[in-house]
Symmetry: C2
Subunit: 379 residues, 2 copies
């Protein structure tokens, strides 16, 4: 596991004010904000009669998965086999591997099930289904199977209702497989900024889900579970009613990407819980201070980090290489001192978490726990 | 250490053809190419009468550092304290921490030296120098100090000759510090594509180095070591003659970024040694195949990955999320099969290595060793 390398901040646990004294760059998780996000989503799902299987790809942490289960989740989704292996080893039930894997990984998946893990895998091609069936048979186990529907993302899944019916029929007929539902993830719509635009774009893929589910029903293969949705669309998905299980992930932390995505009625139900803390290491230039968090500490696929605390109002953040960033001041006479701490909202939580080995869990101004990012890495 | 989580590919070690059967996404290191790059740089440095202290930030691997030392390197540079701690634990001598650290890390640095590590740190501010001096004194050790000169990068270092003299004088006068040279890294010039442009831009910072070294000499603080340079400028730096030690890092692997940087006389002395291997996981779409390597497997701060093998000529690579990429075909009827392996040159080697826990070391078509990326991660 990734916690084999201890955090150099362990000696600070429990000390008042330790939030401002972390060895940096450090991933900081605000426990009050996390708990509020978990409670809000759990109450929303329950209030709407929807199952919730949050996506562990956002946090890669059995510690957070346990809290999601305690709040009523049906299990957690996993985006990679490694995530599923780590969650299974930690005893997390209700695992769903949400993506097609290379067929030669089927033996590792079957080994998880044979070892007692409660998990389902997704299929979108007869070859992959055959590989899972053969691996499950060889391992003397039975694998739960979800048929993945491609309703517009163009990534994994099958775009054809006929193929979905064929896959479901093959899964239902296989002695070592158990057909248990369908998945339809509309990842391409999660980050549409405006609610009305996002809702309009949801119409067509939702119709496709409904048509494919109807085709399955007519073939006597009505899915028990219709799983999908994300932090961007979940409230709109609920109103449309095609899904009965939600896979939202990023709501636990939020990030700069999702801060730009409006929720219906102007609500801001989720709050920033995840930050990178960095220290000032050079003050030799007017106009900016150099910090110790750069390309190695932030996911660089999206927007820039946004400063949350520790810098003068109006300051912005930019990268200065693998190990360095800059706090660029808005005012000419502003400055920071060597060693000052600055915290930034992460740009895109899932790949940002993957860069770190530990969550430094904060309550108020104190470091109260250190959790491993146990499921980071490949393959 | 990061090797606490074993690679799922360990069972393939030594098997012919195992290169094509790795569980993916996997970082693949071609040992023939690595050895050729190490030998070429070592011979070049020796032939030019220059010391070579290659930058371990590119590989984060004691296994590669040992090979650099065996080829004649004076030691290795480290970009972070964590890199220095891992290299020291592996017994690598001649460590130089090339960047200013937050002053409250001085105790960890002093602990390394007190524990027997052979290392030097860089300073660019009196407060940092004082912190190192106090920490070394408290730990009962003596820390080697290099004064970092900012000759145009604007990141760390001191831009003023007077300040450089002051820092060198303070270091030389401190009982627990040993002044041993200066550093001048021109990171902003490494990736200028054309040789003539790069060489022209080198003139001014090289003049600054020479002027600052002259100021130190006049103050009876002539630096023994003048260290700097990189894969992009080293041959031009040698011709200009201001540096006597080279810090090149990326030459061990090369990457898409550096493939675009011409070397003098049109030479291509270094060859691509580092790849990400990915598997095809979805073939349900005409025109492209979906793979299992996305934002979590490639550094996204620079250009896109370039396909090196396993796909039809002319195919290109694009990202489809954290866990997915696409091989986009140039021809309409081209395709790949589920499970096919594709290898891509990494876009930017340093942060790309940081995403993985293991090098899968290849000789020809066989996996021959697995090396941990022992110094990845933070802080």
């Amino acid at each position: 596991m990734s916690d084999a390398q201890p955090s150099p901040n362990a000696a600070l646990l429990g000390q008042p004010g330790s939030r401002q004294r972390l060895q940096t760059p450090a991933l900081v998780l605000d426990l009050d904000a996390l708990e509020a996000n978990l409670a809000t989503m759990a109450a929303w799902a329950e209030g709407n009669g929807l199952a919730l299987r949050p996506h562990a790809k956002s946090h890669k942490s059995p510690d957070i998965a346990r809290r999601q289960l305690a709040a009523g989740a049906a299990g957690v989704c996993c985006a990679s086999l490694r995530e599923a292996e780590v969650m299974a080893a930690a005893g997390i039930p209700g695992l769903l591997i949400t993506t097609a894997l290379a067929p030669d990984k089927a033996a590792r998946v079957a080994a998880l099930a044979a070892g007692g893990a409660d998990l389902a895998c997704t299929v979108d091609h007869p070859e992959l289904l055959a590989a899972y069936g053969a691996a499950a048979e060889a391992a003397g186990t039975r694998l739960k199977v979800v048929v993945d529907l491609d309703v517009g993302l163009g990534r994994t899944g099958t775009p054809s209702a006929d193929d979905a019916v064929t896959l479901a029929r093959q899964a239902a007929a296989h002695d070592s497989l158990a057909y248990c539902g369908v998945q339809a993830y509309m990842g391409h719509l999660q980050h549409i900024a405006q609610v009305a635009d996002r809702d309009e774009l949801l119409a067509e893929p939702t119709d496709k889900v409904e048509a494919m589910v109807e085709a399955l029903r007519e073939a006597n293969l009505a899915p028990g579970t219709v799983t999908g949705g994300g932090t961007g669309t979940h409230r709109l998905d609920a109103a449309r009613g095609a899904l009965n299980e939600m896979q939202c992930g990023s709501y636990v932390f939020m990030d700069v990407d999702y801060d730009a995505v409006a929720q219906p009625d102007g609500a801001r139900p989720y709050t920033n819980a995840l930050f990178v803390q960095t220290s000032v290491v050079n003050v030799n230039h007017p106009g900016y201070a150099v910090t110790d968090a750069g390309l190695k500490s932030f996911a660089t696929d999206g927007p820039l980090p946004v400063i949350a605390r520790g810098a003068p109002d109006g300051a912005s953040y930019r990268y200065m290489g693998d190990e360095h960033g800059a706090v660029v001041f808005a005012g000419q006479d502003e400055r920071l001192a060597l060693g000052d701490r600055v915290e930034c909202v992460v740009p895109h939580c899932d790949p940002n978490v993957n860069l770190f080995d530990h969550y430094h869990v904060i309550r108020g101004d104190a470091l109260v726990e250190i959790w491993p990012v146990a499921a980071r890495g490949n393959p």
